[in-house]
């Protein structure tokens, strides 16, 4: 197990490095082909060459390689890695530390992801298990129909309807019923409130999770049906164990392996959903910050945020791999 984890971590570090390098190559090429991003600093004003030179130096864009299309600019890359190693991710165009921006935006996105993952797991496991256990029953058909309906309903439609139609009457009702200062009014607040981050992120997170849960429900159902038909389940039943125990220890336990893998894989995908959700619900998070950075050609901020997101994704992959090994001994001893 120890060696397995070590190998996975080494692979992950290599992957992180590779992603950072590709990212560097792409931004370098963009600068080389697209012109000097330092100009973006001045907006509509036309700077003097001395001003441009000063800004270029400040953001590390003064290397002559940026004027030579095709040059991989290894010098600045190594320099940046050195800075990253010291925890310095640079600043945005306004001189604010990237680490500082991320530190304030990331927790909200993380809250959103926590809600999304919980929603996936709860809906997927409960509905998928019910559908598998009573296969062919009305509840099975109902759950499968629901999952198709969820698929047909895009997350932005869901969120817009929620925000424009549901939140105002619901939060009004909650205020009347539970009082101004209680928790429920915040749950249904139409926009994010930094004073109550958990309460105001919860419902948008659940809705985003709901939008992605259809695939989960079907995956859980399919993998559990696979287990129900398995010989080892028949063996467990032949021991005279009650059906509940058979389901928990031999069906759910065995079919959790593909489910955990899917959680990891969809986690990365959820970021695009986060951009939409954060935009609609005015949540100050990584998705919104990244969107603004791209809009304003803030190279330093884009690089910093994408690097951090890569690191987080790689970390999630490691966690999934370790969970996978913990769940399936055949992986551990490969």
């Amino acid at each position: 197990m120890g060696r397995y984890v070590l190998r996975r971590v080494a692979q992950a570090v290599g992957m992180l490095f590779l992603v950072m390098f590709v990212l560097h190559l792409l931004t370098t090429l963009a600068i080389q082909l697209n012109g000097n991003p330092a100009l973006a600093f001045f907006g509509d004003k036309i700077p003097s060459p001395a001003q441009v030179a000063a800004v270029e130096q400040r953001f590390g864009l003064d290397d002559p390689c940026y004027d030579q299309p095709g040059n991989p600019c290894l010098g600045p890359f190594v320099e940046r890695l050195g800075q990253y190693a010291q925890g310095d991710l640079g600043t945005n165009l306004r001189g604010r530390e990237v680490t500082d921006i991320v530190a304030s935006a990331a927790p909200n996105t993380l809250r959103l992801f926590v809600m999304v993952t919980i929603t996936w797991l709860v809906l997927g496991m409960v509905l998928g298990s019910v559908a598998a256990r009573w296969r062919g029953s009305p509840s099975d058909h109902g759950i499968r129909l629901t999952s198709v309906l969820i698929d047909a309903l895009p997350v932005f439609v869901l969120l817009l309807v929620y925000k424009e139609v549901v939140t105002v009457p619901l939060s009004g009702w909650a205020k009347e019923t539970f009082g101004e200062d209680s928790w429920p009014p915040y749950w249904f607040k139409p926009s994010f409130d930094p004073e109550h981050p958990w309460a105001t992120v919860a419902v948008p997170g659940i809705l985003l999770g709901l939008a992605g849960s259809a695939a989960f429900i079907r995956l859980v159902r399919a993998s559990q049906l696979d287990s129900y038909g398995g010989d080892h389940v028949r063996t467990a039943r032949s021991k005279g164990l009650n059906e509940g125990r058979v389901v928990v220890h031999h069906v759910v336990r065995n079919s959790s392996i593909p489910v955990v893998t899917a959680v990891g894989l969809t986690f990365a995908e959820a970021l695009s959903g986060a951009v939409i959700t954060e935009g609609i619900m005015n949540i100050y998070g990584m998705g919104g910050v990244l969107w603004d950075a791209v809009q304003s050609s803030d190279v330093g901020l884009v690089l910093g945020i994408v690097t951090i997101l890569t690191a987080v994704t790689v970390l999630v992959m490691i966690v999934v791999d370790i969970a996978y090994a913990a769940l399936d001994p055949r992986i551990r001893y490969e």
Binding site: D231, H232, T235, K239, G240, L241, P329
Partner: protein, 364 residues
Amino acid sequence: MSAATDRTQATPSGTPLLEVTDLAVEFRTPDGVVRAVDGLSYRVEAGRTLAIVGESGSGKSVSSLAVMGLLPDTARVTRGSVRLGGTDLLTLSRKEHRARCGDQVAMVFQDALAALNPVHTVGYQLTEALRARRGLSRGDARKRAVELLDLVKVPNAKARVKEYPHQFSGGMRQRVMIATALAMDPDVLIADEPTTALDVTVQAQVLRLLAEIQAERHMGLVLITHDLGVVAGVADDVTVMYAGRAVEQAPVVPVYTTPAHPYTRALLRSIPSAAGTGRLPVIPGRPPSPAAMPAGCPFHPRCDAVRDVCRTDVPPRATPAPGRMSACHFASDIMAGREPAPEAGVTASASGGSVPEPKGDPDD
């Protein structure tokens, strides 16, 4: 070998541990209802081994799943009884049925790699039922797991209980499967083709182990196999199944010396022997599909002694000798090694009626 002494000493007396009477099982399929088992009866006594022999699809595995209450949802028992210690298991709820079987009847499955759960340790699976149903503590369970592995002669049992099924070789895995079945100290053990997935030398070891354990614990053993060669060494009684029915039931020695059914006779001829030369005789044709059962005797299209009566009348369960059963119109003739005379059909079948015509095309 102990099983051999048992065979001569044991007498078929007393109440059987497990008695299956007139069992019939049907499957719902897209093509309609098919009958997989039709009127199977057998009894299992303490210290004796019953071999159920048949080709795949003959209903031998399905019948044992019915006994255990493990039939898939598409199947149901339509007739018969399975009596275990005075209770008809088929009258119980599925939950009670399985609980009773878990205590008294255990099953060894064919493919141990698939039949053991890949994500739990061998020790966990050995004692799962003991812990869940008899409340054994974790420590006691571990001790018991080691004992069970020792019992089936898995070397280094203490370390191996912590391992997973995929870390065992095929033969060792089958031993684990047997140990799992023995955990609850069952009265009857049903072994469904326990050696099919193993190579020949390992097969012999596993069979010997089963026979030893059975004799030691005075268990009733039901050995399901498609290999009559396997049966000779271990069984006391034999039930030969064909197309969901028992076609011959008898003690093991007479089955080999004087088979009373043409199917048994053909099976015996097709056992390869080391001394054999030339082509191995095979039974021509294929077993009938349960969805398209031939009229009359289900074996008649493949029978080398077929007469006209076989094509029209289902053979009765004849008793050609005490303690023997053969579902053949000409059981006595086959047992005596005679070819049935064309006119013998009238007297042997006891069905009366039409006078059979002279023998038709034997390849029919």
